[in-house]
Subunit: 507 residues, 2 copies
């Protein structure tokens, strides 16, 4: 270290390096899912593991810890809103978490996950849960060990959840989910009884690849996604990958006989992308340059996808453009019919295909089960049976196979325990944020109905995006809306929207 | 370092990390030229500089130097063909070169190059050399400083050339070029007098983008390019980027009214790619996993492009497939007419569009000038005048503008002094290698005329590709062919091929 340099300055230089390594990791991830030739997988896995390990070593070294100690002293007494103060605070949280995980546990987890994913793919193909069970057991054991290493106050699951939703606790999630479930289950049942009221067959009309991509491009531009600083590609599963504020890429997939898949994937990923494009460039190369949590991330994607693009205001503006671009397919379909089709709600087996009403019940089921696995109250071998029982209880349907049941998601095989709840947290947040935005800017609904997302985006920029990772999610939410997580706005929204669509309001 | 680990083992671990960083650099380069959104350029430049600096620091550190010293002792007395012995030898060469360059010079060069490229682009657009001159002067000064830092025996240019063509000297290049030029200038003049004998207008027939890409795909597969471990994309300038032996990507560009551009770019890049795919995977993560030099690299691309794909043997097999795929455009064109068209030779202003006879004179002109700049016998401000004089002398034509003259190439603006000669070295080598291959496997010409590149590829695999960077280029060449660089086979080839096409054989 050169003379006269402060510890914070030295730390900032380290962050620049660690963040550049993270940048290359993001590029590798994006490339892997889009253009990497198949045979490139094995050198990719190697390079990616080495770069990841290097970044981890740099951010857990004794030297790093010493710099952090000294930098903390340097920022002591600063305004708690000062970016330097907040950077050091966030870096401390990361450091404490990172140093608690023994490198050999990381290596064992990584290895178990690689095998886990391989066997899971095979098991799903063969509809053979028993084949996957011992591998899942191994991962569960290592996740328990991870939770012990990390430490927790109340519940070992807290330690895992914290990786995705900082400072959120199991008991908070449980309370939130219990509340939500008690209101959703009857709503889903009521809608189920009225299936015939909505017909979505028109969405199966054939729309060629190129037309779907043009539509997606058109939509995301309107939604505020800067394509000069982004792009749309194709991948097996849609995702968003940010490399920097000015380089945030999304992907979609196209089914020519189900046009809403690409359109709404574009809207969803665009919500993620617009968030990442809104994180200030000046945070780049520092711990603040990141979304606040997966839940907050999902609040943005769900809002853009469901509240905006499946909502009457924006869709009443946008549907005529769809008709104009696809006159053969939708020239004869009324707005009302299209609106109802894209909002059809029906209990189904597969989470990623679920509508916004039933979706959260899929999440709660997974939360119940993974919680049981981590606390040891559920045996891996009982999962298929418990899965099916819960499906019946929550959604009133039972999977025809484990492939369409307990084996459908990749998360557990890749060690992502504590991840699922963030989807529902995002849904709940999205309505808290949207409602507050409308309260602050009452013109939002009418702006949306003239295709102008400016006011809504401005509110999100000012209250969410601009903060990056300054605050933990619940603090960010409270600053933005005045409340912590609250299912109220979300339930009102679902009741009102689906009550109208399914004629339930009189009940 | 853990107990009992040898210095070589520790060094191999370091190489793995340095090589993983290099891997991410390759991916960043590829992405930058293919899919990176425009606004991503600035964060990309930052990440790429940081990762490059990190790799440079790791490979020039005191710790690295000590390990290298100790590893050298460990491999002392080993068989000089032992991969470990060769690895350490190559690492020593790299290390000695790398440590001689002061980090601040690297930084000043990088900065001068960034500005150089920006101003050069502008200057070329405006046809204004004077605007570029001071920036070029700055780069020349820094390149001279670089040569002094690196050290040299005879000529400062040796030090620069060595980066691209290890252990090649200025006087060797000069002798080679003098010899070649004395034979090429009269050949070019004789062909120029007979321009009307070859008409390439048919190559201007319209071939749509998609058909050109299908043709390129078809061709490269036949040429041995494994597309499971590679891919073809579009970029402004065709290039090859290897990430690993099993992930080597090429690009082309498509002019719908000049179909040979994409086709022969594909053949050329395929030559580069097949070479990189042939470097043994077991060298990955070590200093041997790399082509021997730019010249050797170019010998492969030129051979595949010119000797094979513009040669009568292979083309007599392949042209009917072109006709089959493009019946509307080439159904009525005879093989002879197509063969002559793709081999038309005519003095032209732009290097990258030059044919294989005139191409080398473009290179020699640049070599003369950059040599003069580095030794101080040429003033930057005299470049436009000298360029035009040399064009007249070598090719019998004079540029209509500096944009089409001294400003056409990016190399000097990006500090690539010592790079140009490798193109001609590659051309010369390509015929030495091809001739020796045919001597060893006499069936090659007839194999090619039945579309079978197996025997030729096998020879290249065995004598060139498999060695990676074990030997310096002239040693590799001597091992493969029994001779060092020798213009003989190349001149015979050109005389025979173009003598036949332009009816010069009787002279």
């Amino acid at each position: 270290m050169s003379q006269g340099k402060s510890a914070l300055e030295a730390l900032k230089e380290k962050w620049q390096i660690i963040s550049a390594l993270g940048y290359t990791g993001s590029l590798m991830t994006w490339d892997q899912e889009t253009y990497m030739p198949p045979a490139g997988a094995s050198p990719r896995a190697r390079a990616s593991a080495i770069v990841g390990r290097l970044a981890h070593e740099m951010s857990t070294s004794k030297e790093y810890g010493d710099l952090l100690d000294r930098a903390e002293k340097e920022v002591e007494g600063k305004d708690p809103e000062d970016p330097d103060f907040l950077m050091v605070k966030v870096a401390r949280r990361d450091f404490e978490r990172n140093v608690k995980v023994p490198p050999d546990l990381v290596a064992r987890l990584r290895e178990a996950e690689v095998h886990g994913v391989q066997v899971w793919q095979e098991a799903r193909k063969k509809n053979d849960f028993a084949m996957f069970a011992p591998y899942l057991q191994r991962i569960v054991d290592l996740e328990k060990e991870l939770a012990q290493s990390l430490g927790y106050k109340e519940h070992p699951y807290d330690a895992l959840l914290d990786a995705f939703e900082p400072e959120m606790t199991t008991s908070e999630v449980r309370a939130l989910f219990d509340n939500l479930r008690s209101q959703l289950v009857p709503l889903v049942a009521a809608i189920s009884d009225r299936q015939s009221m909505v017909d979505d067959a028109i969405l199966g009309r054939h729309v060629p690849f190129q037309q779907q991509m043009s539509l997606a491009q058109d939509l995301v531009k309107l939604l505020g996604y800067d394509l000069d600083a982004g792009r749309i590609d194709i991948s097996a599963h849609p995702f968003t990958q940010g490399l920097a504020s000015r380089d945030v890429r999304i992907t979609v997939r196209v089914y020519e006989n189900r046009m809403d898949s690409c359109l709404y994937a574009a809207a969803h990923e665009c919500g993620h992308a617009v968030y990442e494009q809104g994180i200030p460039e000046e945070f780049e190369g520092a711990p603040l340059h990141s979304p606040a949590s997966l839940g907050v991330h999902e609040s943005q994607s769900r809002m853009w996808e469901n509240v905006v693009c499946r909502g009457k205001d924006f869709l009443s503006f946008y549907y005529p453009r769809i008709q104009e671009m696809l006159p053969e397919q939708f020239g004869d379909v009324s707005f009302e019919d299209f609106y109802r089709a894209v909002n059809k709600s029906v209990p189904s087996l597969i989470r990623v295909e679920a509508d916004e009403v039933t979706y959260n019940l899929h999440i709660m089921l997974r939360f119940d089960l993974e919680l049981g696995l981590i606390e040891g109250s559920i045996d891996v071998n009982d999962l298929p049976r418990l899965w099916n029982t819960k499906m019946e209880e929550y959604l009133g349907i039972v999977p025809d196979s484990d492939a369409n049941g307990v084996l459908q998601d990749m998360h557990w095989s890749s060690g992502l325990f504590g991840y699922f709840p963030t989807y529902t947290i995002g849904n709940v947040m999205s309505l808290q944020l949207y409602s507050k935005a409308v309260e602050d800017y009452p013109s939002i609904p009418s702006d949306l109905s003239s295709g102008d997302i400016g006011s809504l985006l401005r509110w999100m920029r000012e209250h969410i995006h601009v903060h990056g990772r300054k605050y933990v999610p619940q603090e960010l939410l409270e600053r933005a809306t005045g409340s912590r997580l609250d299912v109220g706005p979300y339930i009102s929204y679902l009741r009102s929207k689906y009550g109208e669509i399914y004629g339930l309001l009189e009940e």
